[in-house]
Every structure is written in C-alpha cells, then in structure tokens.
Amino acid sequence: MKNKWLKLIILLLLAAVALSLAVGLGSVSIPLPEQFSILLGKFFGTSGNYTDTSATILTTIRMPRAFLAFLVGGGLAVAGVVTQSILQNPLASSYTLGVSSGAALGAAIMTVMEISIPILGVLLLPTGGFLGGLLAVLFVMALSRKIDHGVSSHTVVLIGMIVSMFTNAIITLLSLLFIKHEHQIISWTMGSFNGKRWYHVAILLGADLIAIILTMVRHRELDALSFGDEHAASLGVNVTKVKMRQLILASLLTGISVCFTGTIGFVDLIAPHIGRKLIGATHKWMIPVSFLIGGILMTLADLIARTILSPMELPVGAVTALIGAPFFMYIYFSRRNKNVG
C-alpha cells in the first residue's frame, strides 16, 4: 500500500516536470525560475525578471495548451481503462473501438451542418462529439454481438477498426464536400493542441472531473467486470447498468477530448497498460495512475510535436501513432503468446 502511494507521488512529480518542460520549451525558452516569477506576478502582482512577451506566451499560449494536452491524455487514458475492463480486453480503447472517429464525425457533422443550439453555446461541439462517440461504440458492440456470439476480443477490435476506417472515410468526404470547413475537419483527423484557450481547459477539466469521479465510485464493479460479465453478475454486480453507465462516461471523456483536439490514438491504450504493470490491476489505483500516465505521455507527445521540427509543427496524433503503433503490436503479440493482459 505504502509502495503504491509512493508510486503515485512520483507520478505526480513527473507530471509537474512534464508540464514545466511543456510550458518552458519552444522558440522562446522560459526556464523554471522565470515561470515562477511570471505566475507570482500574475497572481500576486509581484515584480520579477521577465518580459511581457514571455508572460503572454506562458499564460495565454503554452499553459492552456499544455494543461489541455494533459487533461486530454488523462481523460483518454481513463476512457481506455474503462473500455478495457468492461470488454475484458487489454487491446480495447476508445481509438480501437471507433469512439474517437465517431466523436470526430459527430463534431464534423455539427460543423458542416452549421447547427446552432444557443443554449449549448461552446458545449455544442463537445455534445456532438460525445453523441458521435457513443453511437459508434454502441454500433461496434451490436455488430460484434451479431457476428460473433462470444463477442471475442479480436472481433470487437477488428470491427472497431473497420468502423473507424469507415467513419474516417465519411469525414474525408465531408471535408471535400464542405470545402469551407475543410481545414478544421482535416485537423480533427490528425489531432492538434494548437491555439487552445483556457475555456477549453475549463470545459474539459469539468468533464474529466465528473467522469473520473463517477468512474472511481465504481472501481469495485470495474474490477469484477474484468473477469467477465457472468462472473461479475454472480458476484452481485448489476452488469447491464454498470456497463452502460461506464460506456457513456468513456464516450463522454473521449468525445469532449476529441472535438477540441481531434483524434489522437494509442495514449488510451498505452497508459492503462503501463499503469497495470506499475501498480497492478485494481481500479482504485489504476484509474488515478493511468490518468497521470496518460497526461504525462500526451504532454510530452505534444512537446515533441511542437519542437522536434520547429518551426514546423507535427500533428500530435502522428507522434502518438509513431510510438503507439509498434507498442500496440508488442501487446498484441505478447498477449497471444501469454494469453493474459
């Protein structure tokens, strides 16, 4: 137990380091002491040794971007934890299940149809993303059940991939048919944290908090579900209700992340895997630990995307895929050999 707390604290420190690097590095370098003086200046009006330009870069460009990357990574990782548990499949994730591309399609439809629901305001796109993601996962599950009665891991992953590809094709089609929105739609398919503001951070923070708390509350049910639906039911879990609720929460986490930043794959697959290796499979620990790992990975991936070919910026989805795809193959084949995740 003590050991687990220690690991959690180390991860928190690593998260702070990753965030500090992400806000400090770039075309204008802002070292840690300067970051502190800027923040002290902003909050307490103390004077310090920094320029207005670095203050603006830090607080209006880099900080919201880095925090958003962290929250997206953490949220996607928790969504991954949930989908892996309820499908008893360490290869499942929002990305491999088609939730991400469904969410991107939902947001794209909202955009090209120029739908406006005043009461939703800035929440319109997140709502589209959430609904698109949820519909996609429900479709994948229904189709998997129809094709393969046992709903095996491989079937679900395969159908998820097919639905993803199909959805992406529709997104591409939409981008060609609605040239006016082409740039925004294409950027969703690759993922980017460029130009994000504090209100994006605020919305995602709210959604992450709600979804993660509601998921933590069900940590025991997620443990039981990891052993299969029947096993969980015989232990006393209300399987249908818990699964449905958790799938909705996972879609919420993914949908909102995706519609702000686009589809970014593999973090939701890798973070839970590292989390499980680090701290074991119990969800009471897995959820916070995977959130931190996902946040750290995404923050660093975005830092790489932003700086490695500077001044050119890579889509962050490309960075996560470059690292994630070989990792996915590694899990797939080591699992086939060992048959355990």
Binding site: D223, S226, E230, A233, L235, G236, V340
Partner: protein, 244 residues
C-alpha cells in the same frame, strides 16, 4: 415455501435456441445435489438459469423469491457460482481476486478493509491452500491453482447456495479429494455439475439426471446408480460399468 429452490416449467437457452425444455424440480437446502448428464445435455445452462445469469421463462424461486426479480447483491447472497470457463484477463493478485468475493458486503466507496474482512479472506485462502501464492498474479498460475483461487473467492462470497460447474476440473487428485471432503462436511447447500461419476455417487445426497434439456430422474444416489435411466442418460451401459 422457503428454504429450497423451486423450478416450475422453466425454459431457457441462448440466442433463441432453447436448451432447457419445461423443467420443474425442487432442490432442498442443506444438501449436496449433483446434476449429471452427457455433454450438451443442458447441465451448465440449468445452473446458470438457477443463478439468474441467463434469461428464462417460467419460475425459479430461491427460498421463496423469484431469482430474476432479486436485486443483484441480494441474489449474490443467496447464490454463488463457480463456472466452468474462468479465465484471467488482467493481472490481479490472488488475494485481490479472492477479496472480490466480498463485493456484496461492500456499501461505502473507499472504506478500508477491516481486520474482520481481512481474516475472512485469509480463512478462504487457507481453506483452498493458496496462502503461499497470495501475492502472485493470477495470469501466472496453473489451471489448478487458478481453480483454487476462484473456489476461495466463492467461499468468500458466503452465499446460502453454492453452485459449482465441474469444480474438480484442472484439480490434482489430492485437491479434488480435499474439495469433495470439504463439500461433504460443510453442511452447505451445494448444487454441482459433475463429470466424474464414481465420486459423484459417493458425495451426492441427491442426483438430478438430465438428457437433452429434460429431467430424466431425480433421486438418491443408490436409487439412481442401479436405475436403467442412468443408461439412457449416458447412452451406454453405465449401470454395469459402475457395478464393476
């Protein structure tokens, strides 16, 4: 009527295919009742239906309450099931897995495991001889070890009725005999699907013979053992085989 399981005109199956046809029977509490029959005769389906894990038509009551209407935790207090196909998808430790059997007792969100709870889990691990491997990950265990872990989880659930689907599968002889003695002496209500006929007749108080989703006969082991119906259930001359 309480203290027993009663099935009335039960039909159940999977995806539109009916496996159990119009089954009516009674299982008294406090007894060891074994379900015997050929592969595919509907033994496991019967256990799952009685445990409320698959939908059924007709009525199944446990101690006077309809199984499908019971809230899941209440049902888990009445019935626990060790099913045949148990696998380990994620790397929980043995102790964590056994502790999951206590799920129905948990009400708070993050209450720490009290001494009494820890003792209970320990006791169950001791009973199935897995104390030494308590910190090992279940993905690394042998089939027999994993089976004992799930048995410990089942004991931890402390339900009134214990359903076992071929519990001695994967078990070495010494553990199999140990389990059979444990079942016999526990005084609990046990309903088990059993593959091995010879030990089945020595541990059962009552035997339910099933063929093609119908109940052929229910009776005491001695009565069943010499009955021609036994031959019908298995499609061979089991009576003379057992007589030898």
């Amino acid at each position: 009527m309480s203290d027993r399981i009663i099935l009335e005109n039960v039909r159940a199956g999977y995806r539109g295919k009916e496996v159990l046809h119009d089954i009516s029977l009674e299982i008294p509490s406090g007894k060891t009742v074994l379900i015997l029959g050929e592969n595919g005769s509907g033994k496991s389906t019967l256990l799952k239906a009685m445990a409320g894990l698959i939908p059924y038509e007709g009525s199944i009551t446990v101690d006077g309450k309809e199984v499908k209407k019971m809230p899941p935790k209440e049902r888990a207090g009445k019935i626990s099931l060790l099913s045949q196909m148990n696998s380990a998808y994620f790397s929980y430790t043995v102790e964590e897995t056994v502790r999951m059997g206590r799920y129905r007792f948990h009400t708070g969100l993050f209450e720490t495991v009290g001494d009494k709870e820890a003792e209970k889990v320990e006791e169950c691990m001791k009973k199935t001889n897995i104390l030494e491997i308590r910190s090992e990950r279940i993905g690394e265990l042998s089939g027999g070890q994993l089976q004992r872990v799930y048995l410990a989880q089942l004991f931890a659930q402390e339900s009134d009725y214990v359903f076992l689907d071929e519990p001695t599968n994967h078990l070495d002889l010494k553990y199999r005999v140990g389990l059979e003695q444990e079942l016999k002496s526990s005084g609990r209500s046990i309903v088990a699907v059993y593959h091995d006929l010879i030990p089945a007749f020595s541990i059962a108080d009552e035997i339910i013979l099933i063929k093609d989703g119908h109940v052929l006969k229910i009776g005491a082991p001695d009565e069943i053992k010499t009955s021609e119906v036994l031959n019908e259930a298995f499609g061979m001359d089991v009576v003379s085989y057992l007589g030898k």
